[in-house]
């Protein structure tokens, strides 16, 4: 199983019946593919839709039914549409139960940096700052390391997305939570040892007595 699939499958297990969920672009988008079929989850697209459905079949796309990247999507029965003030009222107002976002860095206190690399990549924050500030639970779905460098760092060197710490980080190697405000190793991926995770993680991880195996 590739890294992205491991991450997406594990994140999908965090969703509960009736949740309103907002998925960011990249790995988070894949989470929708692994939601248990008996679970009723509402997916929000921040451009003004609750009830996003799969990519429409060939020839069925409509120019006014798109995701936040402008790509055609469909709407499930029971879907609703609204303007951007309502969309971000839902996000900032704590009505979104779970948001899943990509990350560039997460630090030992759970702070996320995911919107710019000064001097290199300045795309803008889009909805990320509102999502991290306002959603009830924030889950970061990202690779544990990029180009051999740990993305779980002691302190973020990149600009923060929010002062509010995230709740959970799911990588291809581990699940990390912040129960006492400090990065804590909760689970390791099948076949990955605690020592292996520690060796590629820059931040100091608290290792509780019991570290579970990631169920994917």
């Amino acid at each position: 199983m590739d890294a992205q699939t491991i991450i997406a499958r594990r994140v999908a297990k965090e969703l509960r019946n009736g949740d309103l969920v907002n998925l960011g672009i990249g790995i988070p988008t894949l989470v929708a593919n692994y939601v248990a079929s008996d679970l009723k989850v509402f997916f929000q697209s921040e451009n003004g839709l609750i009830g996003t459905g799969p990519i429409p079949e060939q020839g069925m796309a409509h120019p006014t039914l798109t995701d936040a990247g402008g790509r055609p999507i469909s709407a499930l029965p029971g879907a609703s549409t609204f303007d951007s003030a309502m969309s971000f009222g839902l996000i900032r107002g704590g009505h979104v139960d779970v948001t899943v976002l990509g990350g560039l860095q997460v630090d030992a206190q759970g702070h996320l940096a995911n919107w710019m690399i000064p001097g290199k990549m300045v795309p803008g924050m889009g909805g990320a700052m509102d999502l991290v500030t306002g959603a009830k639970r924030v889950i970061v779905a990202m690779q544990h390391a990029a180009k051999g460098k740990s993305k779980i760092v002691d302190r973020c060197s990149l600009p923060l997305t929010s002062a509010r710490p995230v709740n959970l980080v799911v990588t291809d190697m581990a699940v990390i939570g912040f129960p006492d405000g400090r990065a804590t190793l909760l689970e390791t991926a099948p076949g990955v040892g605690i020592g292996e995770v520690m060796a590629v993680t820059e931040a100091e991880l608290i290792v509780p007595e019991k570290v579970l195996e990631m169920k994917i």
């Binding site: 798109t66 709407a75 951007s84 971000f88 996000i91 300045v122 909805g127 306002g134 997305t161 929010s162």
Partner: protein, 215 residues
Amino acid sequence: MKAVSVEEAVAMIPAGASVMVGGFMGVGTPERLLDEVTRQRKTGLSLICNDAAVPGKGVGKLFDAALVSRLTATHIGLNPKAQQQMLANQIDVNLVPQGTFVERIRAGGCGLGGVLTPTGVGTLVAEGKRQIEVDGKPFLLETALRAQFALVHAFLADYLGNLSYALTSRNFNPIMAMAADTVIVTAEHIVPVGVIAPDHVVTPAPLVDYLIMNG
């Protein structure tokens, strides 16, 4: 509301004007108005739009023709031309969190001086802004945003100028239709009064100054 040609409408916009444009990645954008703005070469525009779309689509056309000198947006990462113009200092770009962007415009249209938002506290976005505590929680004071012109795209417009929108093309359009001195609208369909039921009117007719006639 006055029905005008697209040429007449765009002729009212001076070079250097501040212009809000509805749409999200070019979805729900008044393309005919942007084509005409490009044809009449309205330079030095101060553009307020969620994103820079992509080259050749929506407000992306304004960057193709290098007509923008200031941009207030939330995300421009999918338009390499806008990125290049920003990095070459041809455009002064102000990036705003999306929820803050829409609330600033809503405030501008609703007679408010601004809004207090927790978004951006403790980040680069907070620089130079007043932080205000309410019930022990920190908020940023984000000031209202208005423009001289709002270019809006609706699904249905009736003969009076009542508007309704389709699916995800609604986005910023009804918010911007309240926050500009002059509101110019294109619609997919122009229909008789009564076709849009009162409960389904999203933007009431008195907000619309000009409706672009069918060609």
